[in-house]
Structure formats: C-alpha cells, structure tokens
Symmetry: C2
Subunit: 379 residues, 2 copies
Amino acid sequence: MKKRYLMAPGPVAVDPHVMSVMSEPLIHHRSPQFSSILTEVRKDLKYLYQTNNDCLIFASSGTGGMEASVANLLSPGDKAICVVAGKFGERWSELCQTYGVETVDINVEWGHAVDPAQVKEALDEHPDAKAVFIQAHETSTGVKHPVEELGRMIADKPDTVFVVDAISALGVYDMKVDEWNLDVVVTGSQKSLSLPPGLAVVSVSEKAWKMAEKAKAPRYYFNFLKERKALARETTAYTPAVSLIIGLGEVLKQFRQMGLENLFAHHRRLSGAVKAAVKAMGLEQFPKDPSEAITVICAPEGVNGQDVVKILREDYGITIAGGQAQLKGKIFRISHYGYLCEWDMIIAVAAVERALNELGHKVPLGSGVAACQEYFANN
Amino acid sequence: MKKRYLMAPGPVAVDPHVMSVMSEPLIHHRSPQFSSILTEVRKDLKYLYQTNNDCLIFASSGTGGMEASVANLLSPGDKAICVVAGKFGERWSELCQTYGVETVDINVEWGHAVDPAQVKEALDEHPDAKAVFIQAHETSTGVKHPVEELGRMIADKPDTVFVVDAISALGVYDMKVDEWNLDVVVTGSQKSLSLPPGLAVVSVSEKAWKMAEKAKAPRYYFNFLKERKALARETTAYTPAVSLIIGLGEVLKQFRQMGLENLFAHHRRLSGAVKAAVKAMGLEQFPKDPSEAITVICAPEGVNGQDVVKILREDYGITIAGGQAQLKGKIFRISHYGYLCEWDMIIAVAAVERALNELGHKVPLGSGVAACQEYFANN
C-alpha cells in the first residue's frame, strides 16, 4: 500500500487524465486529424509563451532544444555571451564551444542571479557578440535570473539575440516573451507542462529568424528553417512524438481554462508554503534569488543532502532531487511544478521533517507542516 | 461505431497493454528503479539486435539516430559512400553533406535494391571512404537491400564502417548485426517496436567506437561517447523519454517470449498473404526486391494512389500510406509491422478491393481476400 510521489524538478507527476488521453489509439502523423491537433497545439503554445512568434516542436529532451538554438543561430567563429551560474549555464557554454563559437562566460557564484550590469559590461566589451544565452531559472541552484530586464537591454542591439532556457520556468511564472523581447525561448515537456519527457519547444522571433537564415553551423534534425516550412503545411519536418503532442494539447487546454494568472498563482502558493516551512524548520534556502519553480534547501550541518533524498525515496516513496556537481550532498530540491497540489507540499515537508530527525538533525515534528498550513490558510 | 485502423509504415498501432504500462505513474529518470529498467531494456535490445555491441537510446525520431551516426563517426572533409535508392537514402547523403562530408552517391533506380558489385566498385574507387551508409529496408519504395552481403564485404576494410538505417527493418526480419558485421544500426520506436514515435536506438561496434573517438563533427545532444559513459553508470547523458523506454521494455519482453524466429515468421506471413492478394487482384508490386516489412502496390492505370489512401482513411477509417516525392500518386503502401494480426491484413485487402472499384478500376470483390485466406490457411 505504499504510494509513490514524484516531487523532483522533472520529470514530474502527470495528470492521470492526460495520461489516458495519450493512451488512446495512435493516429498517423501525416493525417488531417493530427494536423488539426498540431495546429491547435501551436496556437495554444503561443498563448502560454505570450507571443506571436512561431513555436517549433522537436522530439527530444530539453537539451536538444538548447542545441537547436545554438546550431540554428550561430556560425563557427561567432562570439556569444553565456551566463554561467550553475550546471545548465555551463551547458550553454559547452554547446557554443561544440559548434566552434567563441564564448564569453559571465561566471556567477552558484546560488546568485546575474547582475544585469555584468551583462551590460560584457555587451559593451563585446559588441560583436551575436547572442546572449541564459537560464530563466537555473534548475541546479533554484535561482531566477532577471530575464525581463536583460531582454529589454538586448532589444536595443540589432545584431544580438537573447536566448533563454526556460525549461523549468515557462508556465511556472510570468514570462512575457514578446513584451520582454526574448528572441528564442526553450522549454521541455517534463517540467511545468507536466508531461513525460521527450518534447522540446522553441519559440523564434523575427530577429532570430534573420540570424537563422544566415547561420552556418551544421544541423539537420534540429533545423528551424525546415520546421518553419513544415509548420506552414501544418506538419513537422520529421516524425513527431505523436502521443506527447496529443498530451501537450490536453495540458494546454487546461492551462487556457485556468488562465495564466491562476496557473502562476498556483505555483507561487505552493512555493510560498514550502519556503515558509523551511524558515519554520530553522533551515536555510540555498539560492539568494529564489524562484517559485522549486525550493532548494541547504542540508543542515552534519547532514548529507543525498541521505535526505534517499530516505524520502526508499522509506517514504517520495522522490525529490539532491544537488548536482559541486552542490552534491549540500542541498536538496523540492519541485512546485507538475501535477501537484497543496497536499503534496504538506507531504513533502512532513517527510523532510521526519528524515532530518532520523539523520540526527532535530526539527520539531509538525513545525514545517504548521507553517505550510498557516500559509495555505492565508493565501 | 467507426473503428480506426493504423496500417501505415509508421507510426503503427500500439498494443493497448503496452499503452497501459506506459500510462502508469511516471518515475524519476535518476532513480534506481529506472536504472534497473534501463539496464534490462539495453540487455533485451542486444537480443533483438543479435549483438554484443552497446545499444544507445536517444529521445528523438529515427532521423535523429541517423544524424547521430553521421556526426559521431565522421569529420568534415571525410568521404562517405551513400546508397541512394529512395527518400531515406537521400537523407543519408544530405546528412553527410550537412556535416561537410564528401559523398559518393550510388544512385539506384527507385524500386530496385543496390547490386553489391556497385558498392564494391565504389569502395575500390574510393578506398579512403570512411563509411558506407545504406537502408536495410528503404521504406519509401519497399525495397530490401542486401546488407548481409555488404556487411561481409566491408568487414575486410579496417578503416571503413558500415552504417545501416534499419528503422523499418530491425525486428521485422532477420538481421544478425554481429555475424554480418553491421557496425552501426539505427532503429526507431514507431516501426516494428510498435511504440509511439520518440525513441531512436543505435548499436555501435568496436570499429565504430574507434572512429567515434577520433571524429570531429560537432555534436552534443547526440553524443555516442557521452552515452557510453552514462551507460556504464546505468543512466543516460540527458533526460530520457522515460515512458517510451518503459514501453520498450514491455515490447522487448514480448519479443523475447515469442522468440525472434516466430516474430520474423509472423511478419513473413502477413506480408506473404498481402502479396498473394496483390497478385490475385491483378495488381503489381512496385519494388523489384520487396521486403517483408511492407507491401508497396502500384496504383493501376487511371487511378491516383493518393485517392486510394484518402478513401481508406475517410470512408473506411483505415490509414495506409501513399507514395513520397517522385512516387506520390503512383503507389500505396500497407505495413506488416506494428500491433497487427492476420485479420488486419484481410481488412486492408478488403478495403483496397472496394476503393479500387469505387475509383473505377474493376477488381472482383473478394478476390484479394480469398487469396489472403488461402495463404493464411496454408502457411
């Protein structure tokens, strides 16, 4: 009778109704029936992205969408600025280097957001930079970068695009792609879209299309121009992940019914409650600039964060995430996106209370849960 | 009460039991539970591939697996021989060119298999060719290429690898990857693996690994070396398509229970019955060297093949495929792989009989079905 709970920052829990829709008999990807679903999904993606830009869908994980952005915008020898404030920032820099792009890394201490002044300085020093790459939310540290401010700053540069990995941010909190001038925005299915992994979505602005037309990096499967042509014919360049796209259609329909404001408020509420619990338990959040997407908690003195993750998984049936790379053992992370509700947050906090006590770090049982309850009752 | 049937050469019908397994609550990709599933799947893939080579799994469509093979084996300026006998042969050549590889195309008339002597000649003329690219089964024409003979021929060349797109062949008919020296073999989930699209699998021989270690084409998401490292840790380099891999495990378990011989005999039987029906209906097969994977039928004089496809889809709820590129309108294609049984073939043939009559091409009703019945009764 042990139930299993998935509260890691992706893959996330999927609504059983969405699962059941995805389980209906498969349809052919070159049929009028699928074309009409695809067209609807693309329209609803524009709603979620708050954009008029085309939204391209790839069968791949989010990293594929990131690679697509590098390979379709740049040419070997180009220069790009990468904000590196965690594992996923490093990925941008690695991707650029893979394609022979010269990178100017803005290294930010893990746990901190980039200061827009640093980006301005890099842009002033490197006016020939063709792109600025960043995470909206750096999942490895729980930090939210100021993409709105940066978007408005880069909008002034006619030959520089702003590329945002919003894999764990889009759909979690407000991101006005057009208003903030976010040229290319990547997301993945297994985060706030609350689907199994296997889809990447990339929005492309007019400024980015112009760059894509000139870019010379090799790409075939991840090809923006081919996908744009296919989009005009209501299809995809290569066989799409049919069942995931059908699931995406269902999720986006729910998002539309709910409204973006309510969707964001939901995540804010789950996040607020867990952050209140962290404080009440006498624990520390790791990020100085935390997001509503996840709560990243410092393992207290004498406790290995990986042990917290292990006890939750093995003894309580609850999957949260530990730290990656330099943060391994030092933190543990609880997600607020995915098919989750307030009771899930209470379960997560209750499990953390118990695990910490078991590991010798005394936390009054119920202290975190009480703070959650207070928060939920008042928000 | 109209039922829908999917008998196109992919995406194919999926066993509802497999669908239900894939619909179980999602598990985390970095959990011991998923690692053990992944390890089992990789073992069962070796059984299906009849190989001891590592089988790498990517979240992408089959084309991603093809691109991975080019980008991981070759460097710009390398030379490669491509057998081009249809739309997917063209894809190999385009992929090579995308990565700055000089291609020697062996152009074969559509509908014919390559003559091994042509490949031998190309190899003699271009001893510096690093790779030979081919389809095991060219889905656009229904042709089966002689990969066994070619594999044995290329095995003698220490610096040339043999790369086989077996997307619509592996699991359909016998393919002894190790015995025939097929260095890199690509497949996709939406063909004989009878899953929704979204997974590519690539097997890599020792000879190919040596080449991958030296190759300089850019690649990040599709990276053989990173996947090999991840494989040793029972994981994947990037977020895998968790639910599809769980489905793959279920399908491979069924294949194992059935045994490869019976699996191949099943496809041979479905194919034989439909090919007998084609003859009985007075129709012609398009390929001179047909495979057991699909039956490709020439639209008779005065009939547009696309109209046959349309009537089947719109009036009868049956999805088969038409022709692509130069074959558009000239052929229609019925699949024998996927979750299909003999009664499905009878339905397909019966529908074709009716559609042809409707389009003014007289076929005695029941003539094709009778031939199917005879074939099934005797085989």
